[in-house]
């Protein structure tokens, strides 16, 4: 008999860990704070260094989660407290109400169509609008609707409407739902789980580039972040893959990528965010594929193309796609008020001259911040989960039975996160199965 394992975070690392555990016959609870699994990878258009479609890799894995009878997805939920020790953890989880009975909802989307309230869509980084009742994205797993209680007219009525109204407001979704799934009476619920091991795969959030006022993010319309650009360039994104400027909706002719925005900088985060060099290279290639006459410039300090095929990828970007790499840290961005173009100031360290260059669009390689759940494990000074031994035990935290994988342990790319997930799944399964190690042939030793 085995005890269940809790996987925290439904990104690519969490998904991989859950699938590996399930495959080994271990029960898995997969908890995510969002209504769908997929994590950050679901927002990406392509992956480096092969330019494979991110969704095409991710979606089958997401769908596979539902095929295992021993995986239970607990969405819209966050860990509150963890106690106990390896083999016997008690976990308290708070589940937010979705106001839709997911047993009844079949994801038809009728409610979404009829809902009158629009708010910025977080999945598209605010570049498009969604309804108050919504399905997170078309490929969401589970594909269920939920109500954003802050936006909903019924749940959070605007004061001026509330005064006039006699009864409850709106409620259109409740009326139109063919499955009668909408349930405004849902309350937050606490779930208690007893698990053998925990795998932390909560990933990252982006560092707020508004903390670096020199770059003018949030002030200058045509300054974007990597993830915003990924949504723009994605066929499933708000513009169906058209790269357009926020200011006038026109296609940019010159795009700049600025690396190490808040990374490798003692004023903000001193660590390297690891994947931005390759992400910028990939995005520049995608921009070239979408608009062959666009000029792409990447301002970098060091190109960290350390993985297999990475350096070749960068060389290909330079030779095949004509992407310009300029070595120098951009110190500030100024906006041309009439054209909304952006002037970047930097020292071209190859020629040793301070220069100013105008671009139509700037994409910031914003640093990542680990998003650690409230679990009693040690963290490093940077806020990442501390590893017990970075060389010989790189998926263990300082507490027995709690493992850590993916970006929350340290900045890394998708393949590395997946590798760690499989490793942690193997280690967690051992604990879950109570160390039922089969007796070795002839008692072990060596063949004489």
């Amino acid at each position: 008999m085995s005890k269940p394992v809790l996987v925290l975070g439904g990104g690519i690392a969490g998904i991989q860990a859950a699938l590996d555990l399930a495959e080994q016959g271990v029960d898995v609870y997969l908890v995510d704070k969002l209504p769908s699994v997929g994590g950050k990878m679901a927002q990406l258009d392509k992956t480096f260094p092969t330019l494979d479609c991110a969704s095409c890799i991710l979606t089958p894995k997401m769908a596979a989660l539902l095929r295992y009878p021993n995986i239970k997805l607990i969405m819209c939920s966050e860990v509150q407290e963890v106690s106990g020790s390896a083999g016997n953890f008690l976990v308290r989880i708070l589940r937010r109400p979705t106001y839709v009975n997911w047993d009844l909802c079949n994801g038809c989307g009728t409610c979404v169509e009829k809902c009158p309230k629009k708010v910025p869509d977080e999945f598209n980084m605010g570049l498009s609008m969604r309804k108050a009742i919504h399905i997170m994205f078309p490929q969401a797993v589970p594909r269920k609707a939920l109500i954003d209680e802050k936006a909903c007219i019924r749940l959070n009525p605007p004061p001026e409407l509330k005064e006039k109204a006699k009864g409850p407001l709106c409620g259109i979704c409740e009326r139109v739902c063919p499955a009668k799934a909408v349930d405004f009476s849902q309350k937050p619920e606490t779930i208690e789980l007893n698990v053998a091991a925990i795998i932390i795969a909560t990933g990252m959030e982006l560092y707020d580039p508004r903390n670096i006022p020199e770059y003018g993010y949030g002030k200058y319309q045509n300054v974007f972040t990597h993830l915003e650009f990924e949504r723009l360039v994605s066929a499933t994104g708000p513009t169906q893959g058209e790269i357009v400027r926020r200011s006038d909706g026109r296609h940019p002719k010159r795009i700049a990528w600025i690396q190490c925005v808040g990374s490798r900088d003692v004023r903000f985060n001193s660590y390297c965010s690891a994947f931005c060099c390759m992400a910028a290279t990939k995005e520049a290639i995608l921009a070239k594929e979408h608009m062959p006459d666009v000029e792409c410039t990447i301002y970098y300090m060091d190109i960290r193309a350390f993985g297999k095929g990475f350096n070749e990828f960068v060389n290909r970007a330079k030779k095949e796609f004509g992407i310009k790499y300029v070595r120098g840290k951009v110190v500030k961005i100024d906006e041309n008020p009439s054209t909304k173009n952006l002037v970047v100031t930097y020292e071209d360290t190859a020629s040793s001259y301070m220069k100013k260059e105008e671009h139509d669009m700037v994409v910031l390689a914003v640093a990542i911040r680990p998003s650690c759940p409230p679990i009693p494990v040690d963290l490093t000074a940077d806020g990442f989960v501390k590893l017990r031994d970075p060389y010989l035990d790189p998926v263990s935290t300082t507490k027995d039975g709690i493992f850590v994988v993916g970006v929350v342990a340290g900045a890394k790319d998708i393949p590395d996160s997946v590798t760690e997930a499989s490793a942690a799944a193997a280690r967690a399964a051992l604990i879950a199965k109570g160390y039922e190690v089969p007796v070795a042939v002839d008692g072990g030793g060596y063949l004489a």
């Binding site: 190490c260 840290k329 110190v331 500030k332 020629s351 301070m354 490093t380 000074a381 940077d382 970075p390």
Partner: protein, 397 residues
Amino acid sequence: MSGGIFPPTVPVIKGGKVTGSLKKLGGGDLFICYQCGSCTAICPVSEELDTSFRKAIRYAQLELEDRLLSDPLPWLCYYCGECTKTCPRDAKPSRIMDSLRRYLISKYDWTHVAGLVQSSKLYLTLANIVLFVLGLLFIYLIHGPMNQEKVDLSGFLPPSKVELMGISVGIVSLAIILGGLYRSYRFIMHDITNPARGPLSSLPTLAKYLLLQFPMNRCENKRRWIDHLLIFYGFLLLGMMTLTLFIVLTVAPNPEVFASLRNPSTPLGSAWLLLGAVASAMILYSIISSIVNRLRGKDIYYITATTHTDIAFIIVVLLITLTGIFVLAFRLLNQPILTYYSYAIHLALQPLLFLIELPFSKFSHFIYRPFIAYFALMKGMRIPNAVLKRGMGGGLL
């Protein structure tokens, strides 16, 4: 990922020839720099010119002594501290620039004294004290009768002997600083056979750097520029006045004019007094402003880089100015003894300014800076505030 087994960023200070000297001069954060160029890009002096401050740091990191010596970059920096605020590594580039400037001063100096006083608090303090005591001793030996009734400075210290002291100090000082200037010229032009520009056509830039203290006016904090102008013109005024006295006394002796200059009740004497007061006030204001700035730490540069040479300069100039004011005041109040003592101290302090500060320490930058900019322009480098002829790109060194 830091923490645990990976130590956070630790500068590796090697004991190389250049880096070793720079470490002694306070440029210890040299190896933290990862050459991103933020300092060049944020610098208010910098344009699309030969003003890559990053490059100077690179030369130092690589121990390229020849390149450093032939590069006027540290002289184009005014230590406003913008780069230190912007540096993503907290390497304090303005501080490195300051250590580079002091490194260059010690290299230009042919007597090799500059290196000692620049890098050692002890040597600088000792040199100042010894010289001051020697000055007092000299004055004690040559002084005449101290008239108790009324102030008689010419009787106390015969002008001819003071002049002799002044001339000898001046000649030594000039010999050292001119030697230093010649050496800096050789360093900068060592690989140049045909100067890109003649000495005459480069003169306007020399004037701008010397008389207007350009391009410091571009820095964010204009107050420091004003302070520099005030102290420069204060000293210039005092220098002219000393020269006038020298002419009236020795070159074309005119005892009448000398007497009326010394007598505040004559129109010429009161004008002379006013001139001296204005010059002293200019210097005093500038020095006090610099002290206040440093204490308040308003400028990030001041927080990070007040060195013993700065402090010594401030103390010496402050003492000289104050004793000068005391001499004037006591003379007007008719306090003979106090006047004589103030005058003796005032004179004994002069060698500190002209035999330590001017040739070896902080004060030298007012001569080196404009002239090195001038040499750089002749070399063909593109520097700020210089009218450049077409097709004379400086390019890489």
